[in-house]
Amino acid sequence: MSYTAEISRNNPGCFLFVIDQSGSMADSLASGKSKANMVADSVNRILQSLVIRCSKSEGIRDYFFAGIIGYGQGGGVVSAFEGSLSGKELVPISEIAQNPLEILEKEISVDDGSGGTTNQRVKFPIWLNPIADQQTPMREAFGLANKIVTNWLNQNHNCFPPIVIHITDGESTDGDPSQEMKALMSQTSADGNVLLFNVHLSSGGHTNVISFPGNQEGLPDDYAKMLFSNSSALIPNMIGIAKEDHGINLSAGARGFVFNGDLSSLVTALDIGTRASNPR
């Protein structure tokens, strides 16, 4: 049976985020925040959550490796890590934990357990800064993603299949990325094919969010259909998390695909995509 590999320090899992950092990501959504800001915040929260999941009293257990590919910045494709992690492709979660660019502290209002609220100071480590610059070399980005995943699988053949989450707001400016996306999804570990999520963010005028569709019905254009075709079917664990934690009833065949997404659908997709593989 696929997608059942145990995640342990001997057999870690892998997450790769592929982030559109092109000029259009400077546009704002309804919240007033730029898309680049929203993506950076969401990815930072997900990395924080992965770190905390792996943190134990004796330190961080390297259950996961993670990488961020950014495309658009300076017109090229780069590892989006900065500071001590600059240039690194896949990084053990312990190294990520120890090398945030900075740690912000904020006071937030939380439930006090007796019907009221209380203020609590919480930490927000930052690894990814918001960037919106130049073109959208999506094809090249997926070329790099393929290379990184191939290297990973060569060394971790029995792993839970790598999960790649792509976040974009526009169309590729360096050609059709379909072949690279298909090649990525066809890569396998002993436990199954690589899982690819495509999260497309709204471009102002669109408000009709399409989340985790099971077929192409209702998709507005060929671009949406291309992204749908190159998104993996959600595995049963993900469908379970969607139902239990997000109240979303999905049928078998639902894809890891969001079109015209907003902050809420982005956060949901990241959560479903990164929580289905649990360390022992």
């Binding site: 943190s55 009293s57 480590p125």
Partner: protein, 270 residues
């Protein structure tokens, strides 16, 4: 020395002697929590001294304070500070044996099990009876929220001469129940090639009680065997009372019949 990442816990064997009844507990600290090993150790140690009171919200609140005070909070990393705010969790099974009455009582929250073996058959498994009833999300005792209401299970039973109590943390309990027709506990009774004798005890106290109730029967003991999940190349750090247990655990993990999880086994033979 137990490996740092071994998150099961048990009542220290030295704590068992000298109390009016024999009490022994095992606990399984949740992998998802930090400092769950410390929490599991507090729970099992407290059971040794206070028995079933450890399940009360009042005692749990005291233990939670002890747990918190034991952490050097000022020096925690950002992620351990965050994890600390989420609290820690563990399952707990406590068994109290009164040999003068020939009875045993048990309380449990979660999925550590005690099985009563009589005449070669499991005649009772508590609190979980069937392999398929184990899940990845057992009910747990938390440092923040104690025991979820209505989730403490209780058992009372009689013991006969020759009975065997098998206490096991979840992965091992699930495996034993799945293989009960082959009576896997028989293998664990084999002492040949014992690696470490410190965990096998013939308690004087147990003997005293035992002699009073069953003067003609001498074959009684408590054995403890531990095996941590195999994640790193630390096989030599594993603690087992004998190689039979070691070999079974390794083989069954390799073929996928036994979940790779911290495993604690305690056998009490009467």
């Amino acid at each position: 020395m137990l490996p740092d990442d071994f998150e099961d816990a048990f009542t220290p064997l030295d704590d068992i002697q000298g109390v009016s009844k024999m009490r022994f507990a095992i606990a399984d600290g949740a992998t998802e929590s930090s400092f769950s090993k410390e929490w599991a150790q507090l729970l099992t140690r407290k059971f040794g001294s206070s028995g079933f009171d450890v399940f009360s919200q009042e005692i749990l609140a005291e233990l939670s304070t002890t747990w918190e005070e034991g952490l050097n909070k000022e020096n925690l990393s950002w992620y351990n500070q965050e994890k600390f705010t989420m609290g820690s969790h563990a399952s707990l099974l406590g068994v109290e044996i009164d040999l003068s009455l020939g009875t045993y009582s048990a309380k449990a929250v979660g999925d550590c099990c005690v099985m009563l073996v009589r005449d070669g058959q499991i005649i009772n498994s508590f609190p979980i009876e069937n392999t398929e009833d184990f899940s990845n999300h057992p009910v747990l005792i938390g440092t923040r929220d104690g025991t979820p209401q209505g989730e403490t299970r209780e058992l009372f039973g009689k013991l006969n001469v020759g009975d065997l109590l098998v206490l096991a943390s979840d992965a091992l309990a699930a495996w034993i129940l799945a293989n009960k027709d082959t009576r896997p506990w028989k293998n664990f009774l084999d002492d040949s090639g014992r690696k470490d004798g410190t965990l096998l005890k013939n308690f004087e106290f147990l003997k005293k009680l035992h002699d009073k109730k069953f003067p003609d029967h001498q074959n009684y003991f408590l054995k403890l065997a531990l095996g941590d999940k195999h994640e790193q190349d630390n096989a030599n750090q594993w603690l087992y009372t004998n190689w039979v247990f070691h070999n079974i655990v390794v083989r069954e993990r390799e073929v996928g019949r036994l979940k790779n999880d911290d495993s604690t086994l305690c056998l009490i033979q009467f």
